[in-house]
Subunit: 420 residues, 2 copies
């Protein structure tokens, strides 16, 4: 976690006016150190029917045995194994049938030597028996059953706590709850479960050129793509997005929006060093602008900092840069705050490059790609303002900071966009 | 799609009383043929903020150019390239500055030869210019700017329709909408999108031994695990689950439940050939029981059929069998009805078996496994009633029908439970 350019891990690693941008690795170090300091969000109770996909905040220990009774695992006759020790098809052993055992109903009587009870799978065993002989190994006639086989004591029955014993830790904190986990939680009598609270994420989209989602693009305006896209990304990563609408490029309005009581704030637009780029200067004056400018393409004019103790990530307004900046930094922050894995939620495949990719040493590149005849090809038109390049792409590769690109035929890791 | 045991692909392939079970492959053939006949569900409109993860029902063709104007791609001066053809740091070329162009605002005047306009990234180009010279390549002083470099015509500007041209097909039917797709849809002025309707799934859980989710396990009863688990599975696969509560083991009650106006009905419990197994006989009498008994473990006593034209899948009550039966058949049906990939939504890895796994030829086995020191090990306790074995498992492997197990050291495909 050491940061070669800073006195301590989270010192101010910003370079003013992008005179010298910090590396992607340094920006991740700053973010991870900040997230280490913040820790997990508080926990909350949710009902079981809202719990799938949530992150367990505490270990779950069962207060019950499942099942809480001995039960039949086959349809057959409950009996004492010793009574039919010598039974065979040629020497069947006769027992008197006392009655029937159905699931969910305790059998009133007790079974004595020489007796049996007809029993269904899942029914509680009556007193006095120790085994279940399946129907297929019997012949029965009214109140008499003939055992055609012997069997060991305990055969075809489920013991108390066979599935889960009282005191068992059934699930551990940090678990992302799966459908079968919900089943297990229900079976031990949990109607609620303690999960990590979802990170509240305020999305602040600025830009006087923007029309709100739902509008038609007219005149010299464009319709906001970043607000709806960020909303979907935040939901994907387990956050609770709040995007009340486009903000004007106005210092007072943006400053007021930064006061939002969210766990993390994402701004889109005005993140650079131009005349209309208010967010970095506002954060500098009223909060902390810790990172500004990262040596990567796209999304170089990205920033990170804090405002009244809350994490703020300054995403560029160009939509491709906004997507990449989100994936690199914001998504990681949201997932970690919510107790999820920091890693990208994209499936990885390995494939061979169909053409050379150049990238200067010292810069981290995000490259949208398609798989053409099994080979990795960059998507042709790929400026940072061409969002449709990210929908034409099947995924992306990255060229790390210290690497000067990859030659044709190099095996690379592709992160697939369709995997979520 | 041919079915060797049947006269035509979807003839009745059931074997009564499980005298001879059909193979997993045959059961999938029946299901796929049935789904081919049903086709996709109808489409519906959803607003963009509810569209991520939904399946597009029709191609989306843009009715707009994005952007709909020529715009600056850098902060700088909009000018005529011909005016500064000979400019260099030693021979700067002076132009008069007419004013400023901001994003979202059309510039009122027209730029003549010898003139320039200060312009911000994203702002519409004024009339009369053809290029943008970045600030870094200029010196300016009040109403005068000195160009220090020449540049080609068209440099640093984005053309009309650069991202998306009017008439472009931006997304195709069948697409599972990604966050960036939502951004693109917003940018072309779509406030709604046509998606495949979610399959409505009625969950009918029967069992007199069952207490509803939220109850404490007491006496000879167990708490329903399958209802909550199936609800979560259906949601995972894009369906709309409806599970109003436990049904009694009662023919009339189950028959009434089968009348539900769902797209697919899942029953849990009573799927076998015992005295209390009402669902198969009900379907036989009032609908069609097409498949009953499949040569696999667990979930052999599974069934499929139709009731008033609606698909019914009969899942066993044992929770492990219920999970596996869902994953093999029901999940596939729900995903296909909703326009999704039939495949399991589990990530696959290849790993080596740490011990031999035996399975008789003629039976398809589902085996829960853990990865221990990188090797695949079956989960120790794994009866069909031990649901906790599926939460201890990291995933599963299958042993296909025609295979007699795998030797230690065999490379197998593991489907991981944590990947959704």
């Amino acid at each position: 976690m050491s940061n070669p350019t800073a006195k301590h891990p989270n010192a101010d690693v910003r370079m003013r006016g992008f005179a010298g941008r910090i590396s992607v690795e340094q920006s991740l170090q700053w973010l991870d150190a900040e997230l280490d300091g913040l820790g997990l969000l508080a926990s909350e109770f949710v009902s079981l029917d809202n719990a799938a996909g949530r992150v367990l905040a505490a270990d779950v220990v069962s207060a019950a045995n499942v099942p809480n009774f001995r039960r039949a695992m086959m349809d057959g006759f409950a009996l004492r194994a010793a009574d039919i020790a010598d039974a065979s098809p040629n020497t069947p052993k006769s027992l008197g049938v006392l009655g029937d055992c159905f699931p969910g109903q305790a059998f009133a009587g007790e079974v004595s030597a020489g007796q049996a009870v007809r029993i269904m799978t899942g029914a509680p065993l009556p007193k006095g028996v120790d085994s279940v002989l399946p129907f297929e190994q019997t012949e029965s006639n009214g109140n008499e059953v003939r055992a055609l086989m012997s069997l060991p004591t305990g055969k075809n029955l489920g013991s108390i706590g066979e599935d889960i014993a009282c005191g068992d830790r059934v699930l551990s904190a940090g678990r992302v709850l799966r459908p079968q986990d919900i089943g297990v939680l229900s079976s031990i009598g949990q109607s609620q479960v303690t999960v990590v609270r979802r990170p509240r994420v305020r999305i602040i989209v600025t830009g006087d050129e923007l029309l709100p989602a739902g509008a038609q693009p007219i005149g010299s305006k464009i319709v906001d793509a970043n607000g709806p896209m960020l909303t979907a990304l935040v939901e994907r990563d387990g956050g609770l997005p709040n995007h009340p609408g486009i903000m004007p490029d106005n210092r007072d309005a943006i400053l007021a929006a930064l006061e939002d009581d969210a766990d993390i704030l994402l701004t889109s637009g005005g993140s650079s060093v131009g005349q209309e780029d208010h967010v970095p200067t506002l954060l500098d004056e009223h909060g902390k602008l810790a990172v500004h400018g990262v040596a990567m393409r796209p999304a170089g004019p990205i920033g990170m900092g804090t405002f009244k103790g809350r994490l703020v990530i300054l995403l560029p307004g160009n939509p491709v840069a906004c997507l990449w900046g989100y994936d690199l930094l914001a998504g990681r922050a949201i997932r970690r705050l919510g107790g999820r894995k920091a890693d990208w939620p994209y499936r990885k495949v390995t494939a061979v490059l169909g053409r050379e990719i150049k990238s200067p040493v010292g810069r981290y590149d995000y490259i949208r790609v398609q798989l053409v005849n099994g080979k990795v090809e960059p998507v042709a038109q790929s400026g940072a303002s061409v969002l449709s390049s990210t929908t034409r792409a099947e995924g992306f590769i990255v060229v790390p900071t210290e690497v000067a690109g990859f030659g044709e035929g190099t095996e690379v890791e592709v992160f697939l966009y369709d995997s979520v």
